[in-house]
């Protein structure tokens, strides 16, 4: 590598599709379509997740129009699903609605933690992979489960850093490293990001990408935070690919000991 520019990074490649960025935008918590438009622009995201809900007859404007106008692909999720059956049904509806085979698979175990239910998740992933979906499962930071999801045919795995919306950062960096090591499909850190340094850390730990929703949408200045996240993933990648210095217990002088002038009397 002869250049230090971040532009030499091709970004995430999932199922053969190059996203040109390592940041995926989640739309959860976004306050208005105007804010959505500004954070899409500032984040540089080329793909954004959406949830599937009943049509609201009184809804004005469409987030699909905003995403379409910005050239951003829709990644439907199965947010709110507690069983494999619900998630599979939701994915099928999404495929029909948006003409995409891609699905961000979420199967939640309980309301308090919103942690994934691994049994239902694996079941849903198997069914959806068999049905030809490109499956991106939201999963725990368990390298064994990540490997099982990869073996099932998932196009990526999306381990959590901390519970959804908690902003607690990456609670178990070691496990995230283990997940990154365990699978050959892209690893995208999902959930738990609180601020830009968390996103940079995720990439430094070996993740290929980061999904950020609440940390941007619920921040005081979403557009600024979106710009921060964009730079964070770029910085994380530059740092990781630069080869960090080893950690040392004691200091290591950075100036030569030779040639020191003598001031002793």
């Amino acid at each position: 590598m002869t250049t230090a520019a971040a532009s030499d990074d091709q970004g995430l490649v999932i199922a053969g599709k190059s996203l040109g960025t390592r940041l995926i935008l989640g739309t959860g918590g976004v306050q208005s379509l105007e804010v959505l438009d500004s954070i899409v622009d500032a984040s540089g995201a080329t793909i954004a997740t959406v949830a599937i809900r009943r049509v609201d007859p009184s809804a004005r404007g469409s987030l699909l129009d905003v995403l379409h106008d910005r050239g951003v692909s829709v990644l439907p999720n199965t947010a709110g699903c507690f069983t494999a059956a619900e998630a599979v049904m939701t994915a099928q509806l999404a495929r029909e609605a948006f003409a995409t085979d891609w699905v961000k698979l979420e199967v939640i175990g309980d309301e308090d933690t919103l942690l994934p239910d691994p049994v239902e998740l694996l079941d849903a992933a198997e069914q959806l992979c068999d049905a030809g979906f490109v499956v991106l499962p939201y999963t725990t930071d368990d390298p064994v489960l990540a490997r099982r999801l990869e073996q099932t045919g998932c196009a990526a795995v999306m381990p959590l850093g901390a519970p959804i919306g908690s902003g607690l950062g990456i609670r178990n960096p070691h496990n995230i490293e283990l997940v990154a090591e365990a699978v050959s499909v892209p690893v995208i850190l999902d959930a738990g990001i609180g601020t830009a340094s968390d996103a940079a850390l995720a990439i430094e730990l070996g993740c290929d990408g980061v999904l950020v929703a609440s940390a941007i949408t619920r921040s005081r200045h979403p557009e600024r935070m979106a710009a921060a996240m964009r730079r964070a993933v770029e910085s994380g990648y530059l740092a990781r690919s630069s080869g960090r210095i080893p950690r040392r217990w004691h200091a290591q002088a950075s100036s030569p000991a030779e040639g020191m002038p003598s001031f002793t009397a």
């Binding site: 989640g26 739309t27 959860g28 918590g29 976004v30 959505l36 997740t49 959406v50 949830a51 599937i52 809900r53 009943r54 049509v55 609201d56 007859p57 009184s58 809804a59 004005r60 469409s62 987030l63 699909l64 829709v74 439907p76 999720n77 199965t78 947010a79 709110g80 049904m89 099928q92 509806l93 999404a94 495929r95 029909e96 609605a97 948006f98 961000k104 979420e106 939201y138 959804i164 919306g165 999902d190 959930a191 999904l211 929703a213 609440s214």
Partner: protein, 74 residues
């Protein structure tokens, strides 16, 4: 034409027998100006492909879900 009752997005509503899925979409999502982009329909837990909305008729008792994208999830 006799009215029958179907459940649309959780609400029971009377519709003329023979109402098509396309009709139901037009009634339920009127603000979309005829655009059905980003909408999907399930009748009795079965996804109805867009191309057949005009020919699938409701005869009463069906559970219809008409969905679209909203901001949400991560």
């Amino acid at each position: 034409m006799t009215d029958v009752v179907v459940t649309v997005n959780g609400e029971k509503r009377p519709v003329p027998s023979g109402t098509t899925v396309a009709d139901m979409v037009a009634i339920t999502a009127p603000s979309r100006g005829g655009s059905d982009r980003g909408i999907a329909v399930a009748v009795n837990r079965e996804v109805i492909p867009r191309g057949t909305w005009g020919s699938v008729r409701l005869t009463g008792g069906e559970t219809v879900e008409i969905v679209t994208a909203v901001a949400g999830g991560c």
